[in-house]
């Protein structure tokens, strides 16, 4: 039999901000938390929910009340790997949510669940208002005490926890894997106070590992938790991360055997071409994140504002964007690999018949169909110009010449005539700037410089402050992760009211469609309605999805598909069951294992 | 003693020293030769830049890196040593056989090592003596050079010593290895006259004690008369005349030496111009043809412009390098003798009308304090005097006595802490209105000490002279300004063509004259001249003094003349005030003061001033002024009138004593 290594070695860049499970931001933080603390449910290697701390669960008829039975005899361990007096109980899950619900604790991702659990958001707003000094007729203590009655979480007994939801959520199990629903021991929390999660002894562990070493900004080592409930499945003894700030050295480190796996930039891939290392490079799976373009309907740039309300103009712009060329920045060899023309990811949601959401008929014209078309774009642009301009063909209707102040990213004059000035805002990382340069070139080449003039605005410090807060953009490039297994995860965020893109658009048709879709508990029905809404959004050119997230060149020594799978929650970051081989995985090996894995999954999907 | 009988211990022959300077070659010493006899003091005199330092430095291989001895030979005790030795070989000569003392005692000692260490290291280095013995020797040396409490002083750092003391330490270091020859390169220029006299005395004593020969470099003929057995005169890189001190002073043959001696203000007669040497010393970059002095010598012969004269022998010990000594020059010299020394022109007198009119400037109880860190230092302390229109009023005193500060206070470029200054009936040391200030500034002008520093090198002479005209708007049309400027140039003896030149193209004397033109073009009535000649070469001092005197008469000026050199002061001034540590100690008519100096400080100052006459100087004893000698316990000092117009700071008792001592005493000169 092949022998496997028992140590996982990796790197991190940027600083590890905190080990507080509720305030994690970066993906790397999930990697840590997931291996330190278990939640109710996790996923198997195919991404299916399986019991973790919850042994079993049931839901009410309308899927709005969920009750979890906990595994007995699980204890929290401390930073030395010793079992503490604290057992994992139902109350710990209540404490977790109570922690999250307190605005003082600034839990990240709160938005994901704030509307899901009954009473949670109201409770949050109540405390926030009190903190703001508003008179709500009670003290903060009184308000805090109201948690048990008002928020939909309850410890029914020591090992039973029940969540009451604000509506029907058939897919609540994917919420149950979120960081926000992790348990915490109140007694410990009270003891460490503000220090919670700031040091290895400022945290209790119930997951596969505990932090055995933490040198700030240098080294992080996890050791196997000897009291873990699923000890047999832990194939690795230690997980360690080392701080590396420069991309160049990470590849070198992999080659020297200092890290278990690494991702590579396309330049790095080119640099090892022709060496033995070439054989190990494979493209990692795409993630559920989708990139899209959207407009700012509330822009201060009058030319763009006028043009934007013209659907032909929007379509022209979106048709002129060549997604394949853009993704060539990452993957010059096989750029099509990354393209995605639907808002929601494929291969993530299946209806009971095993049909992929993106294969629903409404999305047929879009999935896999590159909308880029030079000629069509030009024609659309001409159409748009016809209706946008006065008879002279250059003066835009109702647009005054003025100075547009989009400082600190741009500052320019518009003359109210063609070409239409359009500000494209982006960050200042190298790839973002390359992308921006390409987009500008595409729009101006394919639509014609006489019609459009793209002004690039790069935010160098904080995108939120430079661009979002001030509305300093006409067009920008946005991306979203996908947090739970239902189309609503993204569609709900696109309605006029929610306006996650900050686009300030009014799309009553879409709003209505989404509202209707939300009301359905039947998955097929839901999917049909959501897919129609999505198609509408794309057709009316409010958003243009064009690329997937994730998916990068990788080299690894981890045998593929030995770790938990799935697209949501924390489980997929667990190293439970991972096998690490001596030599890097070859692309061939990867491909074979992938095919086997997919075949197996398809098979399992057929099972009732 | 017959000089020929003395042993010759050192000789330099035909030394040529050149410097590479920014791509050009400068010849600093041109075939200079020199002999040194055992036990003698040889003084080398010559003005700044004549090559005295470079010549002597070449004896011990101390030329700057860009300099080299091109030819010539050096011999010590009859043994020749080439001038281009390796650094290592020089070490056997330096310190041990030939030692040298530099001009500035302030910078000659390493500031971070104790005085003792610096003396001791020479001894241990050369004789490998053990530390303890060397230390004892060093202390002994300190005692020898007259440093009190040498054991304590041994452990102190140079900055804890005064200038004179430091020079003593330097001398102690130099003689630590009992060298055969001690070269003193202007060791007293940076010191006060009173201290200078002491150092000269010390060198004399040490010479006898150690049996050394001393080469003494100076440009001060008075000092020469004091120390020298033999004198060598240097001009433009050559020794042009040398001989025993008496021979040089009484029977100089080279026209330059003669002119130099004649031009000394000590010999000047009040009311007459001094004998001045015209022109300025030559530029060493250029090739010098013939006799270097010829262009400045109105009596030069044609041959002087053509051929360099050889060294002619006058007596056994007296040599001079001038064609005048050539046999064929006899007729010419005879003719010159018949002409005799031309008398200088008499000056138009501008003696003020005595006492009637109110004084032009009146200083009353002036006090100026400077802040030094947290302490205040009183630079001028309760000084009062009047200056009458048309007179030359001099202020003398040692360095640091506050003379310049008084001048600055009058010029309103320095604050006053107490007292009043009145000018033409108006108090001026307060805030003046703009037009009042302008009127005052125009009426009172200043002439500075250092001609190198007092002209802005980046402006043309024309601008420099016009500056005042612009500021006081003294012209209507530009042509008028130009005319005034040209006239000013002419009045100081410079050609108006020079107006477009920059100051650095002029020699020191010329620059000083430009400075004078700048001050006088605005037609002031009072001129404060702060040591206007002390930074000038000896050969051109007389020019400037004459110029000042002449302009005074022409333009009805009044001078406040600041100096530390009594000889000049006596010649130039009507009244003299003596300053000591911020206070006036004596004030009198010039002649009265010299006839009967009362205050012991004044007397010390007069004694210390060297006189260019070896006979007087040779056995002069210098009295040192000791401020502790006053007995002010019973009665404090006051400003007393000893004789009409002769004031002195004293109490009654001591004044009576002084009057007794000085009764009938004649002037020193």
């Amino acid at each position: 039999q092949t022998s496997y290594q028992t140590e996982y070695k990796s790197t991190f860049s940027g600083n590890i901000t905190s080990m507080n499970p509720y305030t994690t931001e970066a993906l790397s933080d999930y990697m840590f938390i997931a291996n330190l603390i278990d939640g109710l449910v996790e996923t198997d290697i195919y991404g299916r929910p399986v019991p973790s701390l919850a042994l079993s669960w049931e839901s009410s008829e309308d899927k709005s009340v969920w009750t979890f039975k906990l595994r007995p005899d699980v204890y929290w361990v401390d930073a030395e790997g010793n079992k503490t007096e604290y057992q994992v109980t139902a109350e710990d899950f209540v404490s977790g949510l109570r922690y999250v619900a307190d605005p003082k604790n600034t839990a990240s991702n709160f938005s994901t669940i704030r509307g899901v659990i009954a009473g949670l958001y109201d409770y949050y707003k109540l405390l926030a208002a009190i903190d703001d000094g508003e008179d709500k007729g009670m003290t903060r203590e009184e308000a805090e005490r109201s948690f048990d009655e008002t928020v939909g979480v309850k410890a029914l007994d020591e090992l039973t926890v029940q969540y009451t939801l604000s509506a029907s959520y058939p897919f609540f199990l994917s919420f149950a894997q979120l960081d926000l629903l992790l348990p915490v021991k109140q007694a410990f929390l009270d003891q460490v106070g503000k220090d919670f999660g700031t040091g290895r002894d400022k945290l209790l562990y119930n997951g596969g590992y505990y932090i055995s070493q933490w040198d700030l900004d240098k080294q992080l080592t996890f050791s196997k938790n000897p009291h873990y409930w699923d000890l047999d499945k832990l194939t690795l003894d230690t997980l360690s991360w080392e701080y590396v700030s420069d991309g160049v050295s990470r590849l070198e480190m992999f080659q020297r055997g200092n890290v278990t796996s690494t991702s590579l930039t396309s330049e790095e891939v080119a640099s090892i071409r022709g060496t033995e290392w070439e054989n190990y490079v494979y493209l990692s799976e795409k993630t559920a994140t989708t990139y899209w373009f959207s407009f700012n309907f509330a822009t201060r740039n009058p030319e763009a504002a006028a043009a934007m309300h013209n659907v032909d103009f929007r379509k022209a712009v979106f048709t002129a964007i060549d997604a394949v060329t853009i993704s060539a920045i990452w993957e010059p060899e096989d750029p099509e690999f990354f393209t995605r023309y639907t808002l929601l990811p494929e291969n993530t949601m299946f209806d009971p018949d095993g049909v992929d959401y993106t294969d629903y008929p409404a999305l047929q014209p879009y999935k896999g169909q590159d909308p880029f078309d030079e000629k069509a774009a030009r024609a659309l642009m001409k159409n748009a110009v016809l209706s946008l301009c006065e008879a002279d063909g250059v003066t835009l209707k109702g647009v005054e010449a003025c100075q547009v102040d989009m400082l600190p990213i741009a500052d320019f004059k518009v003359d109210g005539k063609l070409p239409i000035d359009l500000v494209f805002s982006s960050g200042s990382s190298e790839t973002e700037m390359k992308k921006a340069a390409l987009v500008k070139e595409m729009l101006e080449t394919y639509l014609g410089k006489e019609y459009i003039n793209v002004i690039l605005g790069h935010s160098t410090s904080s995108f939120s402050a430079d661009v979002l807060d001030r509305g300093n953009w006409d067009l920008y490039d946005d991306s979203y992760g996908f947090r739970y297994a239902d189309p609503s995860a993204n569609m709900n965020r696109l309605i006029s009211e929610y306006d996650i893109t900050e686009s300030s658009y009014q799309v009553p048709e879409f709003d209505a469609m989404v509202q209707e879709a939300n009301s359905k508990t039947d998955i097929k029905e839901r999917y049909t309605l959501f897919s129609q809404a999505e198609a509408w959004m794309i057709r009316e050119a409010y958003v243009k999805p064009y690329m997937t997230g994730g998916g990068s060149y990788n080299m690894t020594r981890i045998v593929p598909f030995t770790e938990p799978g799935g697209y949501f929650g924390m489980s997929r970051y667990k190293m439970k069951g991972a096998l690490i081989q001596e030599t890097p995985v070859t692309a061939r090996q990867h491909l074979e294992l992938q095919q086997a894995h997919e075949a197996q999954r398809a098979l399992l999907a057929q099972e009732p | 003693m017959q000089y020929q009988d003395r042993k010759k211990i050192f000789s330099a022959r035909d030394v040529v020293v050149k410097f590479n300077l920014r791509g050009k070659v400068l010849t600093a010493v041109r075939k200079a030769s020199l002999d040194l006899y055992e036990g003698e003091t040889l003084a080398i005199v010559g003005e700044s830049g004549s090559g005295k330092s470079v010549f002597t430095k070449s004896f011990i291989g101390m030329l700057d890196k860009n300099g080299y001895m091109e030819s010539g030979s050096l011999a010590l005790d009859g043994q020749e040593y080439p001038g281009t030795q390796s650094e290592k070989e020089w070490l056997n000569i330096r310190g041990k056989k030939i030692a040298m003392v530099f001009q500035d005692p302030m910078t000659s000692l390493n500031p971070v090592k104790t005085v003792g260490q610096q003396i001791r290291e020479v001894i241990t280095w050369h004789f490998k003596t053990d530390k303890e013995t060397a230390k004892q020797e060093a202390i002994e040396l300190l005692r020898l050079v007259g440093i009190p409490e040498p054991e304590q002083r041994y452990k102190q750092y140079p900055h804890q010593f005064s200038g004179g003391m430091r020079q003593r330490v330097v001398i102690a270091t130099a003689i630590a290895c009992k060298p055969r020859i001690l070269i003193c390169d202007e060791p007293t220029t940076a010191l006060d006259v009173t201290v200078q006299a002491q150092i000269l005395q010390l060198i004399k004593e040490l010479k006898d004690e150690f049996g050394m020969s001393v080469i003494y470099i100076t440009h001060d003929l008075g000092v020469v008369a004091h120390v020298a057995d033999r004198v060598a005169v240097m001009y433009a890189g050559q020794i042009i005349e040398h001989g025993l001190a008496n021979e040089i002073f009484k029977d100089a043959r080279h026209p330059y030496t003669k002119a130099l001696l004649l031009s000394l203000p000590q010999l000047g007669e009040k009311g007459r111009d001094l004998h001045a040497i015209k022109g300025s010393p030559p530029n060493l970059y250029k090739e010098i043809k013939g006799d270097a002095f010829a262009p400045r010598n109105p009596e030069a012969m044609k041959i002087d412009f053509l051929y360099e004269p050889p060294m002619f022998q006058v007596s056994d010990t007296h040599f001079a390098k001038t064609w005048l000594l050539h046999a064929q020059a006899r007729p010419y010299t005879d003719a010159l003798d018949r002409e005799g020394i031309k008398d200088t022109e008499p000056l138009r007198s501008s003696r003020p009308a005595e006492g009637k009119e109110p004084p032009l400037l009146s200083v009353k109880n002036l006090t100026v304090n400077y802040k030094l860190g947290r302490r205040t230092f009183c630079a001028v302390n309760d000084v009062s005097f009047d200056i009458h229109a048309g007179e030359t009023f001099s202020l003398v005193g040692e360095s640091g006595s506050g003379k310049t500060t008084v001048g600055k206070a009058i010029m309103k470029i320095c604050h006053t802490n107490a007292g009043e200054i009145w000018f033409q009936g108006k108090q001026v040391n307060k805030k003046l209105a703009r037009n009042e200030l302008a009127a005052y500034r125009q009426a009172v002008q200043m002439i500075f000490q250092d001609p190198m520093a007092s002209l802005n090198d980046r402006a043309k002479v024309e601008y420099i002279i016009s500056e005042g005209l612009y500021n006081f708007k003294l012209f209507k049309k530009d042509a008028e300004r130009r005319q005034k400027v040209s006239r000013a140039m002419e009045s100081v003896g410079l050609m108006p063509e020079y107006l477009t030149r920059f100051p650095h193209e002029f020699s020191g004397g010329q620059r000083q004259r430009i400075g004078i033109a700048r001050s006088l073009v605005v037609e002031p009535s009072l001129v404060v001249a702060d040591e206007p000649i002390s930074a000038l070469d000896v050969s051109i001092r007389a020019q400037v003094i004459n110029l000042l005197n002449r302009l005074k008469a022409e333009k009805q000026l009044t001078y406040l003349f600041i100096a530390h050199d009594l000889s000049v002061v006596r010649y130039i001034s009507d009244r003299i005030a003596v300053m000591y540590k911020g206070r006036l100690v004596e004030l009198a008519e010039a002649e009265a003061l010299f006839r009967r100096p009362l205050h012991p400080y004044t007397r010390a100052l007069m004694d210390a001033a060297p006189v260019p006459d070896p006979e007087i100087e040779r056995d002069k004893k210098v009295a040192v002024y000791n401020p502790a000698a006053h007995d002010y316990t019973r009665e404090g000092p006051a400003w007393l009138e000893a004789e009409p117009g002769h004031y002195v700071r004293a109490n009654r008792a001591e004044l009576a004593d002084w009057l007794k001592i000085t009764h009938g005493r004649g002037a020193g000169v």
């Binding site: 905190s18 003082k104 | 310190g95």
Partner: protein, 313 residues
């Protein structure tokens, strides 16, 4: 003397207070939107945003914030980081990091003095010679080429040619070589060129000429007279150099992944981690002011002329 120390201390405190106040005020000009990442900004509702800002302590009035900072300082509490290391006590974060920076800087300082000083000496004593020319070439390149480029090449090529680790590990002294080399390469040039300059300056002084006239050898003069004086101006800066080592080196520490303090300031400014910025500014300000002060003290030992009296500029 005591008065002198006190007045210097007073000046230092005033300077630092001014600096801290200025920085404090400047930081509050930053738009609060900068505290949100793009995702947070979009995901968070208004009450969430407000709550977040409140928890960071940036919504309070300026004076309240200032008082909090100052009272914290006086009770010995440097506060907690808000963005970079949320809730971590700044003192403990900096403590660990400074140890790293100090270790490497000390070594590199030692190393550069060890090489730089003899280099300067060699250049000065063979002025105009080959050593001098090569040394000058080195100095010119180090001074003129932006250091980032130099460090980059050192990391890439030296690690390859010498087979040295690419990153820094505390346990592996061999991995210290490259960072120390990078850090020293500039200061070697610094020490070399300054020492050379000072030696040459000293050599032109009269007392050196006088020492030569005394017949002492060039070597003796160099060691016993020139060096002692030439060191004085270098000694003035030593304490400040030494103290500022605690501030680490941005580029090198980031290249070799050294968990030091280098770049902390820049990162925390960009992250708008106000408490962190304030503490760092306070610290660095205090270090440099104190360093200058110590420099005066050191020099008063080396140079007997200097008694500690007031002097400005």
């Amino acid at each position: 003397m005591k008065r002198y120390y006190l007045s210097k201390l007073g000046q230092a405190i005033i300077t630092i207070t001014l600096v801290v106040l200025v920085v404090f005020a400047l930081l509050r000009f930053m738009p609060t939107a900068g505290y949100f990442s793009k995702e947070q900004w979009k995901d968070m509702s208004e009450p969430e945003k407000t709550a977040y800002l409140r928890s960071l302590g940036v919504l309070d009035p300026l004076l309240v914030q200032l008082r909090r900072f100052v009272t914290g300082l006086f009770s010995g509490d440097l506060g907690r980081s808000i963005v970079m290391y949320p809730n971590m006590p700044i003192a403990s974060v900096l403590g660990d990091k400074m140890a790293h920076s100090l270790l490497l800087n000390l070594l590199s300082w030692f190393f550069s003095a060890l090489i730089g000083m003899p280099l300067g000496l060699a250049m000065a004593s063979r002025k105009g010679g080959l050593t001098d020319k090569l040394g000058t070439l080195y100095v010119v390149i180090i001074r003129a080429v932006p250091s980032i480029i130099i460090h980059f090449f050192i990391q890439i090529y030296c690690s390859r040619w010498l087979g040295l680790p690419l990153l820094f590990y505390l346990e592996q002294p061999i991995s210290w070589i490259l960072p120390i080399l990078s850090m020293s390469i500039g200061s070697i040039a610094g020490y070399g060129v300054w020492l050379r300059r000072y030696i040459v300056d000293e050599e032109n002084k009269d007392y050196i000429k006088f020492a030569r006239v005394k017949g002492l050898s060039q070597r003796y003069i160099m060691w016993r007279h020139v060096l002692r004086n030439a060191i004085v101006p270098i000694a003035i800066n030593l304490p400040a150099d030494f103290l500022l080592m605690l501030s680490g080196s941005l580029v090198i520490e980031s290249m070799y992944s050294i968990p030091g303090t280098g770049g902390m300031l820049i990162k925390s400014i960009k992250a708008m981690d106000n408490p962190m910025v304030q503490v760092l500014v306070l610290l660095y300000g205090a270090l440099s002011v104190f360093g200058v002060f110590l420099g005066d003290v050191v020099v008063s030992f080396v140079d007997p002329r200097i008694k500690l009296v007031d002097s400005n500029g």
